[in-house]
């Protein structure tokens, strides 16, 4: 309560606790809309999975499990560094806040880089839906449907990563100028919630696309 500096608490809030609660609730509402954004794709996945299970099993085996596993590890680690960045802001540790923010950005870029390698492989192997798609087995059209959903879902996820990396980069500059303190760390906490949400989205994408059936190989 003693922290009620006018520069930190907006005039329309009673105190900093109320402001923080409003920020948190607003962010969770935004994340609920994001859940529905990805939810549409998960719904489409569920419908087509039950319609064409064999095609989905075969398509899934063409995805690069090693790169995706490394990427899952990278993304979970970036969530740890993001959480530690928020903690550094909470404890007024500007040096470690900047270090952890940069670590999160680097891990995010590693993820995007490996994703790019994966996409490149799909183009080389003619597994991108469209006129250049090649498939020797059965389910020519159904497997294209699988890869269409794969590109749409992982592409939407990658877009979220790019936006996250952009916001974090902006925050590194703000952190250098001392914008974030143990009182005014809310923006770091909010970008943290966004980053963890993107991580959770991947936690579901990973088993749904890469781990459908790996028993035959």
């Amino acid at each position: 309560m003693a922290h009620n500096q006018p520069s930190v608490v907006a005039p329309y809030f009673r105190d900093i606790d109320q402001q923080r609660e409003a920020n948190t609730l607003g962010m969770w509402v935004f994340l609920a809309t994001e859940v529905m954004f990805f939810g549409g794709l998960f719904m489409a996945y569920t419908v087509y999975f039950f319609n064409y299970p064999d095609a989905f099993h075969e398509g899934s085996r063409e995805l690069n499990l090693i790169l995706a596993s490394i990427n899952t590890f990278v993304l979970l680690t970036s969530s740890l560094t993001m959480a530690l960045a928020v903690r550094s802001a909470q404890t007024d540790n500007r040096k470690w806040l900047i270090i952890f923010l940069i670590a999160t950005i680097v891990l995010g870029l590693v993820f995007l880089g490996l994703k790019g390698v994966e996409y490149g492989e799909k183009f080389q192997h003619h597994l991108v839906p469209g006129p250049h798609f090649e498939w020797d087995g059965s389910f020519f059209y159904e497997v294209q449907l699988f890869f269409g959903l794969y590109f749409a879902t992982t592409g939407l996820h990658a877009l979220h990563m790019i936006i996250g990396v952009g916001v974090l980069t902006y925050f590194v500059f703000k952190a250098f100028r001392g914008h974030f303190t143990s009182v005014s760390y809310d923006p770091v906490e909010m970008v943290g919630l966004y980053w963890h949400f993107v991580d959770i989205a991947w936690v579901f994408i990973f088993p749904l696309y890469y781990l459908i059936d790996r028993t035959i190989q």
Binding site: M1, R14, D17, R20, E21, T24, L25, W28, V29, L31, A32, T33, E34, V35, M36, G39, G40, F42, M43, T46, V47, F50, N51, L65, S69, T72, F73, L76, T77, S79, L80, M82, A83, L84, R87, Q90, T91, S182, E189, G192, L193, H196, F197, D199, I200, V203, F204, F206, P207, L208, L211, I212, D213, R214, T215
Partner: protein, 105 residues
Amino acid sequence: MTTEQHSTTHHVMPVRTYLIVFALLMVLLAATIGVAFLHLGPFNRIVALTIALAKAGLIMTYFMHLRYSSKLALVFAGMGFFWLVIMLLIGMGDYIARGTIPGTF
């Protein structure tokens, strides 16, 4: 409006907690990859999704600080999941009732 103070915000968790959660996430990641190579039939899917839900739960509880958030924040956080379940249940109910999902009706 009451003027009671909610000092639920600004709870600094120890670094140890974050590291333990991260270690658990790594164990679950190894488990989900390992299970995918076992012949379990439809249980492969169930185990994979249960592990994914456990990972999401750990991330939300500790990394996203829901453990120390207000009850209202918990309701807001559960909202997205709730709507997603409505969409999947009613959506799939429709597809199954129309007989477009093989092996159901």
